[in-house]
Amino acid sequence: MPSWERIKEDFPIFHNLGSGYTYLDSAATSQKPLFVINAISDFYLYHNSNVHRGIYRLSEEATEMYDRSRENVSRFIGSRDPGQIVFVRNATEGLNLLSYTLGREMAQGDEILITIMEHHSNIVPWQFLQDRGIKLVYADIRPDGTLDMDDLQSKMSPRTRIVSVTHVSNVLGTVNPVREIGKMAHDNGSTFIVDGAQSVPHMPVDVEAMGCDFMAFSGHKMLGPTGIGVLYGRKELLERMHPFMGGGEMISEVYRDYSTWAEVPEKFEAGTPDIAGAIGLSAAVDYLRSMGMDNVMKHGRDLIRLTLEMEEEENIPGLVSYGPRDTEIRGPVYSFSIGDISPFSVNQTLSEDGIGVGASIHPHDVASSLDASGIAVRSGHHCAMPLTHRLNTVATTRASYYIYNTEEDVRKLFRSLKRTAEVYSR
């Protein structure tokens, strides 16, 4: 079991920011251990060159490092074959790749089933297909913040071509039963896509066991660099698909009026890839593996359990939090409001009651106030506007944890929240 108190020492930014700084925005992006930063520098210092087809030592080294990174990531998520790992910029690009390529094969009246708790990156790419008469259908959540599985089932139809669901919600922390959803999707003849952006960094994930057809995630949320992400896809599906972008590396032969494609996964990697990014992500995977993903998950649960306990203890007036209270199905994400911050629309009228509704403190004010105490949290819709509206709010404050956070960080959060509530109480 790693010594959680010592892990901060692996992350130089905490030393550089000073011990007073508490970073609680890892759901947006994680900090990076020196091990990852050095892996990137090392590539540029010792091995830098372009990959593929280079017939000189340096290029062969770079190619090998790039391929090994792919294999490492493949093993990390339980994929049998590195050919199933496509390097993309981020989870968002992975989902767009699917919207463009799978979208080609879809027709008017076809349906895509997602959930109301999706991140914009698992909504907007599918909305693009609405132009062509393809329908976007949303499964609802239950009052406890879990997915309404009955609603999901009832919304599957013979026209449902794709079921695309987040593994872990970046607002509620809900861990969705992806295995069960996958079975439902496949029984229905639908392709099953998982948004793993918030699960792969925080828990053991096995794509084969999960039975998904595709899964997208981002390196920067799992200790890796910005600019690199992964689309996992079952090989037989990737092989059947049209390429996404065209250019170098993704071709076998190019003639004036036609081209033939490289094998997967290269078929989906047009142009010079983010070689250093892939190598950095692979280093992040090594680091996480050395922690043990079970331990990483347990640490997140411990912190969220303490958070829910402190919430009850401190009893901050007007504080409402979202998401399941069962920490077994909860990622390390804590979103809350203080008072009513309901959406406002132009048809509404404002009342004269006074600014704010009741004892509310706007999430932007909460975030600014916490920032003044050296705590970084995020406020807003967290790229999940439909969910935020579904929760009858327009913005929340979100604290999210990772391996370098400690129980003291959680306590500090509540101490500062209490002070904020006092300053803003009128």
Binding site: P343, G380, H381
Partner: protein
């Protein structure tokens, strides 16, 4: 007290005890504007005498920046001519608030000024049309 602390106090005073808060009976013009992304909303009421803003009130909801700024904007506007108000630059208001605001919070700070100016320009157009 540092300058930022002082400016924060001033804004928080405006937020906690806003000046010119409330609806107005029979305003010359009124306008409600809101930001769907953060839910800030401000409704401005103006009473003109000739070309001069004789009275201005507002109601609203939202964060301390948007609502504190609304209170400051009403103070600023009172007694000024329509032309003078239309000339107030966003940076002038940001300097008055005097806090280092990121781009998203600048939007909050400017909502009240935008609302007031839009409200007056609407009026202007109506006058021209008469």
């Amino acid at each position: 007290m540092t300058d930022v602390e002082e400016k924060t106090e001033i804004l928080m005073d405006h937020y906690r005890s806003p000046h010119n808060y409330g609806k107005m009976e029979g305003p010359t013009a009124q306008l409600l504007e809101y930001n769907p992304v953060c839910g800030d909303a401000v409704q401005m009421f103006v009473k003109l005498k000739g070309n001069i803003v004789e009275d201005v009130k507002f109601i609203g909801r939202g964060c301390s920046i948007s609502q504190g700024s609304a209170s400051m904007v009403t103070d600023l506007a009172k007694g000024k001519s329509v032309e003078e108000i239309m000339k107030i630059a966003p940076q002038f208001l940001l300097d008055l608030i005097g806090l280092p605001l990121g781009p998203s919070r600048e939007k909050c700070a400017l909502l009240p000024l935008n609302t007031l100016q839009k409200c007056l320009s609407k009026l202007d157009r109506e006058n021209v049309n008469r």
